[in-house]
């Protein structure tokens, strides 16, 4: 069916693409501010220690050193880097510079100097007296009854349980019960741009902060609270984001250059190198999950229980919200099983702090669930796709726990299409190749992620839209373009509704002074919620245009047709009015402008589902795995911008392949990160990638603009399971610990 859409469903390049290919776009570290000081950090060498004293005499004597910030002179206001809004109830246990450092990489001091070299030299001259405290460096150590208490409550930062039906009864009556424990390492986001922040009191008196930021509005609030500065005197600007992936939802070290600028009266820039970024900013939580699944003879899941333990590291950040708002919610959205239990605990350790990362808990949940499903299908001698067919939710499905609609979930459609594209039925599950040196295997998984935080928190975006005097449009919204294509999608929506071309809509964004309140670039809410705001404000504008066009043309509003920057009517003998003339007419006659504001609050939280398929070749001599073909099909409701959508999915696959094969933050016995550069923290290179094919299911979703829903996080969630299941099938043993590094694969082969 032709949908008569002109801008929706077409490919447009990302916002600022021309600036990016010419090197003209200035990211935070590229900006130069007059008279700017450069800052360097002293990060803790100990996993757990009390800072007894700091001697900065020698460091301060170094010519060019201007100020040294540390725990004895910095604000002592506790905060949480994931604090979202005034009144947000969340544990506040971080400090700009804590008195007790809780991981190798925690903030001890920062030097502001005339050059970065002088600051780095001065950092080495700071003498710190530490009282080294006993550290706990893993979940297992932290939950022992006699473990040192890292941050209160015997290391139990958060805990919850939820259930539906009667798991215990179901599991006792079922045909067979399976149980397994899966472990997941901490991961680095590996956004290519390292953390960089500049702060300055500008001549207008505003504390101005430049940072690659996914939630500048929240970070304005945290800044206001730490430094007791009223919010109207703070402006946070996001010049560009060289990748976000959740890392930049966190406040991170933003407060440090702010404090230095307040103390020195000069602009200050702090730039992390890759090592500092890996050890000193948030990670994906490592996790340990035990799952128990009971099935009937036909392979229907009759009971399922998941006990998820996450490692939040040194500080709470979003340890609780990830379990409560994300893991425990997604868990109930994929299968029809009536008897389910979930237990989640977030544990403090002396590892780097866990935080938000693409998928926000879902990779750990579905890494466990999709792993054991592979084990079950194999044991039942059933094709894994048949097992999913019996258990996945249907389009009219309900969420078992809350008995609410799941929206329009299409995991089965995605799976069917993927099977066809992958040629699933024609490929063997495993095969011995080349005289036994290589083992071939295929695997798949189905998983989901969300669309915003409706029902969990404040899920709204406010924005304004102006029609310029010539009929072009200006959208103001505090979104943050991190490479996901959010801005171009919003422009497409506005252009579609107002009958403009996409390049006739300009967006101002990435600045807390523009638009209204919004809950930031997280939870895959960019298109679903911010897109909803663009849709709503554009409709308001269309109504305003309609009202005045009907007045001018002396026709009824329901006869109006919008397009080509003009309004025409279906009535005969009536010439269209161009926007440029209409605006002038209204300015003259009514002295009214064309400006609209709206607050859009999300109305639903459907799942975005994906089915992924992979086949692999395992070298039994080296343990190395080569992924051959990869197919991913996603249930996206409606495609807004095919090129951007494919790019998001392809990038998500790259990230997930890293989780499956190579990515892992590793530590020495004292808690120091050993994978502190890209040689040791290996993300896949271009020549290590498989042949990727993608496709999309477009069956519409309630609550999304034009029926669209998210891709950004969902793209990453099923990947590692699909690949690990393929490897497991190839070697004949399920892999319970990711990533499947060669040494682990070899150990399993020898076992």
């Amino acid at each position: 069916m032709k949908d008569n859409l002109n801008q929706i469903g077409k490919s447009f390049p990302i916002q600022d693409a021309a600036l990016k290919v010419t090197g003209a776009l200035r990211y935070t570290a590229d900006l130069k501010h007059p008279n700017e000081l450069q800052a360097k950090m002293l990060l803790s060498p100990h996993a757990h220690a009390r800072v007894i004293s700091l001697d900065t005499t020698e460091a301060e004597a170094l010519p060019g050193v201007v100020f040294i910030a540390h725990t004895f002179n910095a604000p002592e206001r506790a905060f949480n880097g994931q604090h979202k809004y005034v009144g947000h109830k969340i544990i506040e246990d971080e400090y700009l510079f804590p008195r007790i450092v809780r991981f190798v990489g925690d903030r001890v001091a920062s030097v502001a100097a005339e050059t970065a070299e002088i600051a780095a030299k001065a950092v080495k001259l700071i003498k710190v007296e530490y009282e080294v405290l006993p550290a706990v460096l893993s979940i297992d150590e932290a939950i022992k009854p006699d473990a040192p208490d890292i941050n209160g409550n015997q290391n139990l930062q958060f805990e919850m349980e939820s259930n539906t039906g009667d798991f215990d009864q179901a599991i006792n009556k079922c045909h067979k019960v399976y149980e397994a424990t899966y472990t997941f390492p901490a991961l680095h986001h590996a956004m290519m741009e390292n953390q960089a922040v500049s702060a300055s009191i500008e001549p207008d008196g505003l504390l101005t902060v430049w940072a690659p930021d996914q939630n500048s509005i929240a970070h304005k609030v945290i800044t206001s609270e730490i430094f007791n500065i009223p919010m109207h005197m703070i402006k946070c600007i996001t010049p560009a984001l060289g990748g976000g992936f959740g890392n930049r939802t966190d406040y991170n070290n933003i407060g440090v250059p702010i404090f230095l600028t307040l103390m020195t009266g000069r602009p200050v820039k702090l730039r992390y190198n890759r090592r500092e970024n890996i050890i000193g900013t948030n990670t994906r939580q490592g996790a340990k999950a035990t799952i128990k699944v009971g099935v009937d003879k036909d392979g229907h899941i009759v009971g399922q229980a998941l006990n998820m333990i996450t490692n939040t590291g040194a500080y709470a950040t979003c340890g609780g919200p990830i379990i409560l708002g994300a893991m425990s919610a997604k868990y109930y959205k994929m299968i029809k099983c009536p008897n389910m239990k979930f237990k989640g605990s977030s544990i403090y350790t002396n590892n780097p702090t866990g935080g938000a990362m693409r998928g926000y808990g879902s990779p750990q949940v579905f890494g466990t669930v999709c792993g054991i499903y592979n084990e079950i299908a194999k044991d039942l001698n059933m094709d894994i796709t048949d097992f999913y067919e019996k258990n996945l939710v249907d389009p009219d499905g309900i969420e078992q726990r809350k008995k609410t609609s799941l929206g329009n979930p299409r995991p089965k459609d995605a799976m069917h299409k993927g099977m066809e594209m992958f040629n699933w039925d024609k490929k063997p599950i495993r095969e011995v190749r080349e005289d036994g040196r290589y083992l071939y295997g295929k695997g798949m998984s189905v998983a989901c992620h969300g669309n915003g935080i409706f029902g969990v928190g404040r899920d709204m975006t406010a924005c304004t839209l102006r029609l310029n005097e010539d009929g072009t449009a200006l959208l103001s919204v505090c979104t943050h373009e991190m490479g996901s294509g959010c801005v171009i999608s919003l422009k497409q929506i506005v252009a579609e509704i107002l009958g403009l071309e996409v390049d006739e809509v300009r967006s101002i964004h990435g600045n807390t002074d523009v638009g209204g309140w919004s809950n930031g670039e997280s939870a895959s809410r960019g298109l679903f919620v911010e897109g909803g705001a663009a849709y709503k404000v554009a409709l308001q504008m269309k109504q305003r245009i309609a009202k005045y066009a009907a007045d001018y043309l002396r026709v009824k509003e329901d006869t109006l047709v919008f397009g080509n920057k003009e309004v025409s009517t279906t009535q005969l003998n009536c010439k269209p009015i161009k926007y440029i003339d209409l605006v002038s007419y209204v300015h003259e006659k009514y002295q009214e402008d064309f400006i609209e504001a709206c607050t859009y609050a999300s109305v639903a939280l459907p799942g975005s589902y994906g089915a992924h398929f992979a086949d692999v070749l395992v070298d039994t001599v080296t343990g190395k795995v080569k992924v051959l073909d990869y197919v991913a099909v996603h249930d996206v409701g409606k495609v807004i911008n095919p090129m951007i959508l494919e790019g998001q999915l392809e990038g998500g696959i790259h990230m997930g392949l890293g989780y499956a094969l190579s990515e892992e933050i590793t530590f020495d016995e004292k808690g120091k990160v050993t994978s502190d550069n890209f040689k040791k923290y290996h993300i896949l290179h271009a020549n290590e990638m498989p042949n990727i094919k993608t496709a999309f299911i477009e069956e519409g979703e309630y609550g999304g603009p034009y029926g669209a829903k998210s891709i950004g996080e969902a793209a990453t969630v099923p990947v590692a399971s699909a690949v690990l299941n393929a490897i497991s099938n190839a070697i004949g043993k399920q892999i319970h610990q990711s990533p499947a590094k060669p040494e682990r694969v070899l150990a399993l082969l020898k076992d």
């Binding site: 390049p13 090197g23 730039r271 392809e650 790259h654 550069n677 990727i692």
Partner: protein
Amino acid sequence: MELVSFEVNGKPLEIAVEKNWTLLKVLREQLDLTGAKPGCETGDCGACKVLLDGKAVNSCTTNIMKVQGRSVITIEGLSKGTELHPIQSSFIEAGAVQCGYCTPGMIITAKSLLDENPHPTEQEIRDSLDNNLCRCTGYVKIVDAIQLAAKKMEES
């Protein structure tokens, strides 16, 4: 300080540097050419690549003293005024740009490759990108863009 003379984007210059400075530092901090990006500063990610006598190198691990008498082309030197180089326009058209941070380095590597090998196979393109990391795209559309650029450059 030492004096070093070299050519940047066709313009000869002589500047005073410290012996241990990198080319990346000089480009970004002395010459305000910030198109080359620091991503790792260990030679692993390729975001800082520039052409040194026509070959793509990591400017973060290139000592400035080694640049004496040589020619450097940065991403800023590829376009002519507002006219984009075919590789640049191909990156836009193919959707190879997401966050954009790796993009300058990717384009420089592509330029170096296509100058030497105007008709690379997909495998040759992938191998040429072995020292360029991207976290956004999975490289799929970057490879597409380089193939498109090769076609455009052949036609022009």
